[in-house]
């Protein structure tokens, strides 16, 4: 047999966050804790299928009039309209003026990718792969890959996390925006910044928007935690809505993985806000072509669940309640962890744990301390020091707090 054409294919390194979970699974230590992957867990450390989701799934299962026919290329119409409405608000001027569009996508990732592919082809000229794309330092590591694979050649970072003060480096961020070439694309986290959990305040967002407007920078929001961050949909969408009210054209990649707990059904939406309906229509027509060669049309199950829920006032209220349950538990774990660390007298300041928001916290632990946590204490977290607050439970809080204390005091 001839030598294989794939002989030269190198083995790619595993995606870090999934390797972490794999290592966790293999660990036989009874005390082990997984603070890695970003998925919600109950206080029993279990995945949680939202009660409203269970209810709607049963409704769908018992509706014999439903079939498995193809969705339109851009997705389920009721899903698209409602998903965008959730992001932009019922009273959004953009919706009233009919200048929004939606593309049902495979999760937030899929929405980002469709948006990125479109921008590469049609933004700042045609096929201008040289347009700089700015991603926060740090950011979700897949952001980089999405824009690289979409064809962009100039991916840069913008200052975001200030490790010394454990907060937002606003000045660095604004400076980067001032220096960025005009028309650069900026990936902004709508809320609950991943991985730092550190968001700009409304006032800081106003400053950011002002610079972006003046320098013609394109806002591409990533909204993966709406509702999940603060418990309030409106509060978590404040930044996106502010930009819309300031007249920006923008993209917003939405994920319903966390706030609906529909991780494996891949429910996402790319919301497009344009100057007017005509522009948006043309944009959507081109996005359709991109979708057609990527996945043809999106999966139906998850979109049906979300659409059914958002269309019914009662189910919507139940959903809102479920979301608040998750957000509240996370907030509780934050305050409990912080108070334990402060009681232990763990060196350093720990107010960032409660000031940060969403699923993740940038603890400030350095790689050596992280290694200690994993190897000695069987507590799994990312090398960046990022922990998933959902991995904390009333049962393991003491152990985790003591372990952090040990890591900080023993390892430098």
């Amino acid at each position: 047999m001839a030598a294989s054409i794939f002989t030269a294919v190198p083995r790619a390194p595993p995606v870090a966050v999934f390797k972490l979970t794999a290592d966790f699974r293999e660990d036989g230590d009874a005390r082990k804790v997984n603070l890695g992957v970003g998925a919600y867990r109950t206080d029993e450390g279990q995945p949680w299928v939202l009660p409203v989701v269970k209810k709607v799934e049963q409704m769908i299962a018992s509706d014999s009039s439903l079939n498995h026919e193809y969705l339109p290329i851009l997705g389920l119409p009721e899903f698209r309209a409602n998903a965008s409405r959730i992001a932009l608000g019922d009273d959004s001027p953009a919706i009233k003026e009919n200048r929004i569009g939606s593309v049902q996508s495979l999760g937030g990732t899929g929405a980002l990718r469709i948006g990125a592919e479109f921008l590469r082809r049609w933004y700042n000229g045609n096929n201008n792969t040289a347009t700089p794309v700015y991603i926060s330092a740090p950011s979700w590591e897949n952001h980089n890959s999405v824009f690289v694979d979409a064809g962009f050649k100039d991916i840069r970072t913008y200052h975001y996390w200030d490790a010394a003060k454990r907060g937002l480096d606003l000045q660095g961020l604004l400076d980067d925006m001032e220096k960025a070439p005009e028309f650069s694309i900026f990936i902004l986290h709508a809320c609950a910044h991943n991985p730092t959990g550190t968001d700009p305040t409304p006032d800081q967002w106003k400053q950011i928007a002002a610079v972006m407007k003046r320098r013609f920078l394109f806002p591409f929001f990533d909204s993966a935690y709406q509702g999940f961050a603060s418990g309030s949909l409106d509060k978590d969408a404040w930044a996106v809505r502010y930009f819309v009210s300031e007249g920006f054209e923008l993209f917003c990649a939405q994920s319903f993985s966390k706030n609906f707990g529909l991780y494996n059904e891949r429910v996402g939406n790319l919301t497009v806000v344009g100057k007017d309906a005509d522009n948006v229509q043309r944009v959507l027509s081109q996005m359709e072509k991109i979708v057609r060669t990527t996945w043809s049309n999106p999966p139906s199950q998850g979109a049906r669940i979300v659409a059914t829920t958002l269309c019914s006032p009662q189910l919507f209220a139940e959903w809102y309640d479920n979301v608040k349950t998750m957000a509240d538990r996370v907030l509780l774990m934050r305050s409990e962890l912080r108070s334990r660390l402060e009681s232990l007298g763990t060196p350093g300041t720990w107010n960032h744990i409660t000031e940060q928001i969403g699923m993740f916290s940038f603890t400030g632990l350095n790689p050596k301390q992280v290694e200690y946590m994993i190897k000695e204490k069987h507590i799994y977290l990312m090398a960046s020091g990022r922990i998933n607050m959902c991995g904390l439970t009333t049962k393991n809080l003491d152990y985790v707090a003591k372990s952090i204390h040990e890591a900080v005091t023993k390892v430098q």
Partner: protein, 424 residues
């Protein structure tokens, strides 16, 4: 208006005037995308008020009442899923393992040496399109010998843009003979024998879309020989296993034969038609490798490609398919149901031909029953197609392609009558 930024970065010369921002849009220069031709057919059909109207553009199976058909084995699998308390946790990037393994076995056959030795990788893909695209992206990144993908003439309309968007170039080999409405075998062999070595060739495993024209087994053997001689990389698109002849093994014969001949193929599978799972997007992409170690390396790279596309695949369709394939009773039931669908299609072909004869048509309509699968290249010319639409409210694509799935015992007579009217 400040132009400082523009001076600092002279490479950026936007095509629109800055003077108009913020009054104009970033998207002023974005052209309206051309309407999808097949979608256009369905849209026009919907608007038609003729009670006798027929939609022969639809690429989805319909029962003899013209209705979508949810397989009974699918409903049973769904009931099983509903009764279990399953979580919604992310699937691995490569998808549901029970599904991918069962998919490989379905395609390759349980006795396949390639399957048993584990020298393959199968990842879950977003139905056929997504699976094709993963493979196309993989080839673009790792297959440095050629940028050229050879498609049969004609091929599924979406093949070209998929490979193009992945960064590859499209070429063609002769396939369909419009004079005979059947395979131009000598033309195909001639063209393929001249394809530069190490190019990529795409083959439809069964039920060629859009023509319905498949090679016979002896012809497949010759195709395998020439492909091997030219050292071509073979990419099979199998979207109709079971749905074509009613027999899953028969429909996979070409794929299995090629592999047995030592041709390590790429393969895209779809469960849209054969399990009626269209909107659930169940599919798989496979690479037959030299050995299991190579398969692991290839898999690791496929995951790197998938993650920035959509992270990990949707569960629902794959879970349904997996339950069906892995539950003996349901698998048996599925085989009966897929044969039922194939048989109805074959029966409609037969009835269409006999009705055309009854109408008194003197043309040779044998190709209608010779062709296989959902689609039929009738041989009708654009003017005739237009007449069918305008005078009889029968909708199909301009190339004369009909979806036999849209034909029922209730309307086959009308269809035959109409076709006779425009061809006599």
């Amino acid at each position: 208006m400040s132009r400082v930024g523009a001076r600092l970065c002279p490479v950026l010369k936007p095509n629109f005037s800055l003077l108009y921002f913020p009054f104009s849009s970033w998207w002023s220069h974005v052209e309206m995308g051309p309407p999808d031709p097949i979608l256009g057919v369905t849209e026009a059909f919907k608007r038609d008020t003729n009670s006798k109207k027929m939609n022969l553009g639809v690429g989805a199976y319909r029962d003899d009442n013209g209705k979508p058909y949810v397989l009974s084995c699918v409903r049973k699998a769904e009931a099983m899923m509903a009764s279990k308390k399953m979580d919604k946790e992310y699937l691995p990037i490569a998808g549901l393992a029970d599904f991918t393994r069962a998919s490989a076995e379905l395609a390759l056959g349980e006795n396949s040496e390639a399957f048993k030795s584990g020298r393959y990788v199968t990842v879950q893909g977003i139905s056929g399109t997504g699976s094709l695209r993963i493979g196309a992206n993989f080839l673009q990144r790792f297959f440095k010998s050629s940028r050229d993908v050879y498609l049969p003439k004609p091929s599924w309309g979406n093949h070209t843009p998929i490979f193009r968007d992945a960064g590859l170039q499209l070429q063609a080999y002769r396939y369909y003979d419009p004079k005979t409405c059947s395979l131009d075998f000598s033309g195909a062999m001639d063209d393929i024998s001249k394809i530069p070595e190490k190019s990529i060739i795409l083959l439809h495993a069964c039920a060629h879309n859009p023509t319905g024209v498949d090679p016979r087994q002896e012809q497949w053997k010759e195709l395998a020989a020439v492909v091997k001689k030219r050292n071509l990389l073979v990419y099979f698109d199998m979207a109709y296993q079971g749905f074509a002849s009613g027999d899953i093994n028969r429909d996979a014969w070409a794929v299995r034969y090629f592999i047995e001949q030592g041709i390590n193929v790429l393969l895209s599978q779809s469960y849209a038609k054969n399990m009626g799972l269209y909107g659930e997007r169940a599919g798989a992409f496979s690479v037959i490798c030299s050995d299991a170690e190579e398969a692991k390396r290839v898999e690791s790279q496929l995951k790197i490609l998938i993650r920035p596309m959509y992270s990990n695949p949707p569960l629902n369709g794959a879970r349904i398919a997996s339950i069906i394939l892995n539950t003996p009773d349901l698998r048996k039931e599925w085989l009966v149901e897929v044969k039922g669908m194939a048989d109805r299609i074959i029966s409609m072909r037969t009835q269409l031909v006999s009705n055309l004869k009854k109408e008194g048509s003197s043309h040779n309509w044998q190709h209608i029953t010779d062709q296989i699968g959902m689609f039929c290249f009738t041989g009708l010319k654009p003017e005739q197609v237009e007449r069918l639409t305008k005078e009889f409210s029968i909708y199909m694509t301009k190339d004369g392609r009909i979806s036999v799935a849209g034909v029922t015992s209730g309307n086959v007579g009308y269809l035959a009558h109409a076709i006779h009217q425009v061809t006599k």
